[in-house]
């Protein structure tokens, strides 16, 4: 048997399984000093990877727990929740979500943003990243804005070509208003109207040539 052919065949097999093995041999596992936690994280990483969730967000979730001195049980539960939300986000943001979008989507679902809102965002902007828009929606919901109202506002602003800066400004303004004592629903309504007054009316937006209006 030719030696070089044998080596090449073995190399092919090694490369094929390398991605799976890398999850269980990640050098960052050494950052977890507790043996029991490290073993749990190793198992969770391997299982999640085999079910289609990449290592990075799972490892980050584990290290976040370690940094916050969470128990092994809490870290295991957090990783399991992330994996579940990752899959739900993948369904909602189909067909070709990026890892950034999936991370943002999983984060949104964790904050009780409904999957239908993610589907609507994707439907409105199927050809570009919507990680920012998902993040704005998540932060609004995290500030106790009702998810339906927040989703409707973000979708309307997107449809009227609000910029990323305007969306982020909305999030910040609502945050400040709520901290100042305003009701979240009222804060969103007021700030949303303010931004919309700066945007072209819906009829004008729908007739614009998309290619002539690049997103700032």
């Amino acid at each position: 048997m030719n030696f070089i052919r044998s080596c090449a065949t073995v190399a092919a097999l090694v490369v094929a399984v390398a991605s799976t093995a890398s999850a269980q041999q990640d050098a960052r596992l050494t950052l977890i000093r507790d043996d029991a936690t490290r073993e749990v994280v190793r198992q969770q990483l391997g299982g999640a990877l085999s079910r289609g969730v990449p290592v990075e967000p799972m490892m980050a979730k584990a290290l976040e727990g370690v940094a916050k001195r969470a128990s092994t049980k809490s870290i295991r539960a957090a990783m399991a929740r992330l994996e579940e939300n990752w899959h739900r986000a993948a369904k909602a943001l189909a067909p070709n979500p990026t890892d950034d979008e999936l991370g943002a989507g999983a984060d949104a679902l964790q904050q009780n943003v409904p999957e239908s809102a993610l589907r609507s965002l994707r439907k409105l902007a199927p050809g570009r990243s919507i990680a920012l828009e998902i993040g704005v929606l998540t932060q609004l919901v995290a500030r106790n804005v009702e998810p339906g109202q927040a989703s409707k506002m973000v979708l309307e602003l997107m449809a009227r070509k609000a910029t990323g800066t305007q969306l982020t400004a909305l999030s910040s303004a609502v945050q400040e208003d709520v901290e100042a004592g305003l009701a979240p629903a009222m804060a969103l309504d007021l700030r949303g109207r303010g931004i919309m007054s700066l945007l072209p009316p819906p009829s004008a937006v729908s007739t614009l040539n998309p290619r002539s209006t690049p997103r700032p």
Binding site: N2, I4, R5, A8, A12, A16, V17, T20, L31, G52, P54, P57, K61, L63, E64, V66, A67, K68, A70, S74, A78, H87, K91, A92, A94, P95, N96, P97, T98, D99, D100, L102, A104, D107, Q111, S116, S120, K123, L124, A125, G127, R128, S129, A131, L132, I134, G135, Q139, A142, R143, K152, L155, A159, K161, G164, T168, S171, S206, R215, P216
Partner: protein, 207 residues
Amino acid sequence: MELERDETIERVAQTLAVLPPRDAQAVSRVMTAVHAHQAQRPSRLTLVMEWMRQPSFSVASAGALAAAALVLGFFSRGAFGNAGSDQSARSTLEGQPTGEFPIPAGVVLPASNSHEVRALPVSLVFDARNAKSVVVVGDFNGWDDSKTPMVRYGKDGPWTATVLAKPGRHVYAFLVDGTTLVADPRAPRTKDLDYGGDASVLMVTPP
């Protein structure tokens, strides 16, 4: 002018035009052999094993094998990454009620040049005069406390660091002296639903 006809050529042509008698038994033997050969076609495993036994070696075949290994590796990563989830997403979404929020009719936002977006530099500042070391940890650096140490500005100034983060919402904290996690007093906060307590929120906007 009429061309002369060569009798010899004509005879040769007539002889060659007549096909020789067909031997039906010979035809039968040939067809039987062809069918038998097709029936005994070696399996793929046999072909692979045969290929492995061949003593010859060519640069082209080695190159092809190496390329196949690389492709296999990348695809396996993809399969464990997005591809699998995409497939499950498609199959699960079929026929499912969407319950989507209303979108103005006729509005579909334009595609950008790339679905991926670049990470942008963001400067963070933290006042902790008595701290001996401060590290930024967050989802933008995988909560890895070895990646983004902060540097003190001047002798007793604030701690500063620049992180790279993609547009979107990020959660982070400062790790002081390797033991204490502190939320950024300059940033909005959110409740950490996984581990409890508060976390700082960083909203990164595309340029």
